[in-house]
Structure formats: structure tokens, C-alpha cells
Symmetry: C2
Subunit: 466 residues, 2 copies
């Protein structure tokens, strides 16, 4: 891969301008008043893929927003990389906390981004990171260095749960055949510490409802003699974790993947400053499962968090009510080998079993997803690591993320291929928050690094094949 | 006391009509749009007191709604009874659940009230029960049988916490001097089981706030490593009661009045059907402190109830948030000898001490009140019991109520006198709810019974004095 830096230097202003134009379109998938703009963005992405060198480009209708598909097939004997990204963005709310309008991109310098960063909704998540791939394709086609086949699948519903993606995958398995899926929709540790997200946690999300008396009662006349759903729910939730913060649901840990001491030692190499961590979110102390570090607790260990809880009188002042009902939304993050449907059933069975006789309990499963791990001994990972070495001069740190991206296990299910999460954003980029931004240095570094992934993946693929 | 029944029979239609007129005025103290109507009700009460035989009647201004004062002093050597009541009513909401408009009284027969009941907001609480005393005064003056001095103090802020009452008591101690305070603002067990409320529980009401991180976090990225305020608050609340539902706050039970086996046996004589109780509020089972009956749990034992709790995402669907804050409103019902200020301090100290290091905790005391007990060996109680024997043909059952009426201990504080709670309403009268009503039989029975209280109290008072 030659002249990569030269091509980028020559075209960087245009690369920035093109992204800025794309960021001006408010493609908010969650709000139907933006429908026209979302559809306009799909058209724009179609045009950009064609310009960058794709030969078959199509706006594919789905039950929801369309998926933009494009491909450039150069030789059926060469491997195929499928790039996934999304052109929709999060709502800009709360609007009044933005320093400049969310859809009027501006470049400003920050402490972390002295070269400037583009401030706009979607700058990092995911228009900016998706567009790195489009410009990397342009670079490779314009310099006649594309080493393999490439397919693009850019959807418009990622921020609302990718509802049509499974429908599309199921109907396009042949067309989407590939040897690896490449996604830039995650982050890296810091500008000088490249990292590859190798693991994602699964999720089981449930809502529980406790019913005591059939109506709110006077807490003076009935208090003490009738089970109070809020006291009961507190007790039930409290009992789900023991004094070491281990989850007490029978069978919960049965299939949990345990890492070897060597793997844990490797994880511990990632730079981490506990004081910075505490200061960043202003907590007096950390908290979690005994026997694990903070980085382990939020990546390789399953968890149980109450995401919302309510019942009784929650207005100003005092009301002496013994409420009829109490509710909680509870989610469990899962790790490889835990099946989310099985865990949901274990939760439901256990939660119903611990309710005292004085109340009724209902457990309503919301949704879930499987955990995912990319093997670090495969050629996909090796190719990504090599690419980082080419452009950062150092090996990437494999990183487990505590979050869940259900589409990754969906890809494995429908397309039987591994996914590489090669992110260039930073934790401080404020995705999903006001003043989202993406460093220009990161944007250009992504465009520079991606072609090397194609090069190394193709080489490793051919070597393995022959 | 002669010709009581005759007088009532002769005038009962007018007694009913007058009450209905009073019920037509929407004296809702909680809603300032009704201000004129509240004031109009005070004027109406003033007029009725004059008509019934009071000689000094005055609408006394306070920082809030006025208190209507009236008196009829016949002889300084005779005892004085101070009647307390209130002319304000609860808001009629939810309006759509009323079968007929809240301020258009109608008489309908019910299973419990085959003689008919007046349906209107305030019918029982407290216009109806207060007006029984006005009509009892009329009866005694018109038949020349008033045996003692009588004072009336009818306030207009009972439903909003009697905010001006302490102010008024403090400034009118001389004028309000009395030998007993008589109130009809409670209920009786059933139409054939008269009862006297001899005890009220005290109250300590607090609000707690748990703060973890300084902002809501993504539960995937931070879950498991950062203390979740909702999980923590659940654990803290759960720990406030042990497996026997005893409260675990150190010192909480130190001063609790323990009843003798004899007193408990007397309490147990009150008719109580556990199946009816469970069916009435549709609970699968009762629940409470080990070693006590349902009637004991909600009257002579202190309790701790969560009245409201909230935090995190409480909208539709799912959001994977690790909330920054969690809140709860908690109230404790107290029994005689527990000081509400001391209990509030014990709670605060204990609750702060059990918080784990990963969160900050704030405890904000809301308000409180002392418990109260009327001795059943005093002449006040004896007079009330004798009155019930005259008109019901049986002795009244002394009954502890689980609720709190802070004004009763306030009366004891400012006026140094005992209070007799002689109620004629029924639990099924739906006070504070839609379709509030008051049985005509109960209304007339109250007017019939009250004069006998005056007679017996005067006799016992003079006997004790001489």
C-alpha cells in the first residue's frame, strides 16, 4: 500500500468538506418528522459510494428505513470484506446544551484534539466513522491498490434498534457473502493507544411489576399489616446480589466464560488510572464483584443493574400512601456462553419464586442479545493489528467492551462470519450527548489505517488458503 | 336527657336538608380556585352556630383560612366541652369516578345504609360529623337541657395539614380553656358495634436521596464497576427490616409502649374477619411483624413504609441507563412514647451509616407528629362509653387507629386537655375517595348520642370535683 499519506494530504480538505455536508442532513431515525431527511441521507450515501468506486449500488427497501448496499468485486478468488455502518443519528436533544447547532457542523480545537474536531450530531457516531471507509475505498481505487473485493451495507435504523436488519440479512445471505465484516462504530483507548474491541457483552432486559392491594391505601390505616410493594420490591432486588456483589440467581454463572490468568494479565496491560476514572464520573469509590478489577467488572463479568424503578407518590412534599404497585426495569449484561433467553428464563423463575405470599409478581421480558467475542488468534484480528502497527507504530490492545451491539451476533448467525470492530473514536467524543465531535486527526488516521487492513487481510487470507 | 328521640324525629327532615345545603358549597381548601367558597362556608357555619344557640360567635382570621369560634357559657362552675371539627373538604378528584356530582348531594340507599345515605364530598368528612354537634347543641338548647358550657372551634384547613391551627391555639389559650375536647372525625366499627378511638400513631416522614456518578451512565460501559444508586437504595431499604419484619434501626423500639396481655386480649374482642379484610383490598395474604395480629400491626406497633420511590428511566420500553440518582419517601408510624424527632434522628444516623462507600446519601426530614393515647380509665372515656350505652344499648369498644391526627397531640400541648374521638362514620363511607357518603341513620344516631356525652361528662365531672 503506497502513497497513502500523500493521497490523504492532497485530498484532506475535500474529505473534511464532504463529511461536513453529510453531517448537515438531520437523519434522526427516532423521530418521524425527520423522515424525508433520513431518506435524503440514504440517497447521498448511494451517490458517495458510486463516486468512491463501487460498481453495484442500490437503495434496498426494508419494512423500515432503506439499507444502502454497494460492492466492488475485482476477483472471485480474492477475499471479500463487508463494511457495515449506519447513516442515521441519535436525536440532538437536549438541544439547549449544544454550544453550536447540532446540524450546523463547526470545527473547533480542544485539548485532546489540537488539530481540530468536527462538532455535529453523528460526527463520530457513525457518519464520520462510516465515511472513513468510503474515503478509504476512494483512496484504494484511485491509486489502483484495492487488494480484494469489498461490499458496503449502510443502514438507517441503528439508533432505533436495527429493526429491519435481520429481515434484510435473512433475504440477502447470498449477496452479502463475505470473509470478514469490518465495522468502525466503537472507540479506541486514546490517540496513541490503538485498540480493537474483541468482546461485547450480551443483554437480557426485563420489567417487573409487584402488586399488593388492589388500590393505593392509607399508610396509617394499613401500614404494617399489608405487604408494601415498594418495600417488597426493594427486598427482592436487594436479594439478587450477595455481600460480594455476586448475582444470586441459581444457574446464572453456570456457563460464564472464565478467562485464564494469562488472558487477565493481558487485559491488565491496558492503561487505566483509577483516580482519573473516579474523578471523571465523580464517584467517591468504585464498587462491584469481589475478586475482579474495574476493567474486568465492566467487560468480562456479567452484571445486574436496575435501570429504572418507580411506585407510590413521587411528587413534591409528602403523601402517606401504601402503593398498590411497584415497578422496576432490570437489565443483565451477559458474557460469552451465557444465552440471553436462558438467562431471562432463569431470572423470571427465580424472581417469581422469591416473592412473599402477600404480593403478586409479573416479569415481562423486554429484549436481549448474545455476547460476542472475536478470537485474537484469527487472521481477521491479525490483519487489524498489523494495520495499526503500520500507521501507529505499535500493536493494538484487545479490549472487551461492556456494552452490547446485538447486530454483531446477528451477523454471525445469518452470515457465519467474524466481525472486526476497528474504532477510531474516543470516549470523550460525547456520542449520544450534546456537543458530539470527531477529531480530524482521528478521521484521517482512520482513512489511513483501513487500507492496510485490506492489504494484510488479503495476504493472510491467501497465505492460509494456499 | 329527655325527649331526645322525639325532638330528632320531629326535626330530622330539616336536619338532613340543612346538611345538604352545607354540602353544596365546594369548600376545597387544597385548591385556591375555591377560595371564595371556602370563605362562604365559614360564614355559613357562623350563622348555623348562632341559630343553634351559641352566644359568642366569631370568624377568627388566621394566616390561612379562618377558624369559626362559638361558645355558650351557662355557668363557670360547670365543666366546658370544646368541640373541634372542620368545614373544609378534600378535592373531589378523580371527578369521573363519581356516580353523581360531588357537590350536588343525593340520597341513595345502599346495602349497609338501607335507610339511605347522603352522597357528596364532605358528607362524612367532616361536614356531616361536624354538623351533628351543631344539631345536638340545638336539641339541648331548644329543650332546655344543656348541662354544661360548650365551645366550638371549626377550622378550614384540616385537609391541608391544619397549618394555622397551632398559631391560633397559641394565641387563644385562655379563650379555648376546656375540660375535654370532643371530636367526631373518625369512624366506628359498624352500625351495631360502637367504638371509641383511643389511640393514634405518630409519624416521622423523611425523603432520602442516593447519588452515585455525577450523571446518568451507559449501563453497558459502566455496569458492574460503578455503584448503581437504585440497586444500593433497594439494598439499604431492604436492610431496614429483618426477616421477621422488625425494624433494624438501632434504638427504634427502645421506648415503644408494650401492651399487657390483658390489653391485647381486650383489643382482640373487636370483631374482625381476616377473609373479609383480604378480600376488601384483594391481597393474596397478610404480611407484617412476627408475633402480632393484623389489628395490632396496624395500630399498636410502629411501622416503616416506602411511600414513593423513583430513579432512572421510567418511561415506556427500555433504556440501558445506570442512573446518577435514586430517591425514596419513607414514613414511619410511631406509637406512644416514641418521640418523632428522636426517631427521625435515629433513622438519619442509621441510614447514613449503612451507605456503601460508592455513593453519597442525603436524608431530608419532612415532618412528623407524636402518637396519642386517651386513657380509658378517665371520666372523658367513661362519659363517651355511657353515652353509647344509652343509645346503642352496649358498651363501646376502645380502638387504636393506625393513622395519625397530629392536631390531637397539639391540643394536649397547647390546651393541656384530653381528647375524645367519638366517630359515627364507617370505613366503607369512602372518605377522601369518589362517592363519599354518610348514612342518615349514622347522622341521626350521632345527634342522638352526643347530648348523652354532655350529660354523663357533667355528672362525672361534678362527682369527681365534690
Amino acid at each position: 500500500m503506497n502513497n497513502v499519506k500523500e493521497y490523504i494530504n492532497q485530498h484532506q480538505q475535500r474529505f473534511i468538506d464532504e463529511l461536513i455536508e453529510l453531517l448537515k442532513i438531520p437523519s434522526v431515525s427516532a423521530d418521524s418528522t425527520y423522515k424525508k431527511e433520513v431518506l435524503r441521507t440514504a440517497n447521498e450515501v448511494e451517490k458517495r459510494l458510486l463516486e468512491a468506486g463501487c460498481e453495484q449500488v442500490e437503495i434496498c427497501e426494508t419494512p423500515g428505513y432503506p439499507i444502502v448496499y454497494g460492492e466492488k468485486i475485482i476477483d472471485p478468488n480474492l477475499p471479500t470484506v463487508l463494511v457495515y455502518g449506519h447513516y442515521d443519528v441519535q436525536p440532538p436533544d437536549p438541544i439547549n446544551l449544544w454550544d453550536s447547532p447540532a446540524f450546523e457542523p463547526v470545527i473547533k480545537k480542544t485539548k485532546i484534539h489540537p488539530e481540530g474536531a468536527i462538532f455535529a450530531r453523528g460526527a463520530c457516531d457513525d457518519k464520520g466513522q462510516m465515511y472513513m471507509h468510503v474515503k478509504a475505498l476512494e483512496l484504494m481505487t484511485k491509486t489502483n491498490q484495492l487488494p480484494c473485493n469489498i461490499k458496503f451495507m449502510i443502514e438507517g435504523e441503528e439508533e432505533v434498534g436495527s429493526e429491519s436488519l435481520g429481515w434484510f440479512l435473512e433475504r440477502n445471505q447470498k449477496r452479502l457473502e463475505n470473509d470478514v465484516i469490518l465495522i468502525s462504530d466503537t472507540g479506541m483507548i486514546s490517540k496513541d493507544v490503538p485498540s480493537i474491541t474483541t468482546g461485547l457483552r450480551g443483554l437480557s432486559y426485563v420489567e417487573v411489576e409487584i402488586t399488593g392491594p388492589n388500590r393505593d391505601l392509607h399508610s396509617g390505616l394499613y401500614g404494617g399489616a399489608v405487604a408494601n410493594p415498594l418495600n417488597i420490591l426493594s427486598k427482592m432486588i436487594a436479594s439478587l446480589q450477595d455481600e460480594n456483589n455476586k448475582i444470586t440467581i441459581p444457574g446464572f454463572y453456570d456457563k460464564v466464560e472464565e478467562l485464564t490468568p494469562k488472558e487477565r494479565a493481558k487485559m491488565a496491560e491496558a492503561p487505566f488510572d483509577l483516580d482519573d476514572y473516579k474523578d471523571h464520573i465523580k464517584i467517591p469509590d468504585i464498587h462491584g464483584e469481589k475478586g475482579y478489577t474495574t476493567n474486568e467488572r465492566n467487560s468480562i463479568r456479567p452484571t445486574l443493574d436496575v435501570n429504572g424503578m418507580w411506585g407510590g407518590y413521587i411528587g413534591e412534599g409528602a403523601k402517606t400512601v401504601l402503593p398498590s404497585k411497584a415497578y422496576a426495569k432490570i437489565s443483565m449484561r451477559l458474557v460469552p456462553n451465557q444465552d440471553w433467553k436462558e438467562i431471562t428464563e432463569l431470572f423470571q423463575k427465580h424472581f417469581e419464586s422469591i416473592a412473599p405470599k402477600g404480593v403478586h409478581v409479573k416479569v415481562k421480558p423486554h429484549h436481549g442479545g448474545q455476547a460476542y467475542v472475536t478470537p485474537i488468534d484469527g487472521i481477521e484480528y491479525q490483519a487489524a493489528d498489523n494495520a495499526f502497527q503500520e500507521t501507529f507504530g505499535k500493536s493494538a490492545i484487545p479490549q472487551r467492551s461492556g456494552g452490547s451491539i446485538p447486530i454483531v451476533s446477528m451477523f454471525e448467525h445469518y452470515l457465519s462470519s467474524k466481525t472486526i470492530l476497528m474504532g477510531f473514536g474516543l470516549n470523550t467524543d460525547a456520542i449520544h450527548s450534546p456537543n458530539e465531535h470527531f477529531g480530524i486527526w482521528n478521521y484521517l488516521k482512520g482513512i489511513e489505517t483501513i487500507p492496510f487492513f485490506y492489504k494484510h487481510f488479503t495476504e493472510l487470507y491467501l497465505k492460509e488458503k494456499n
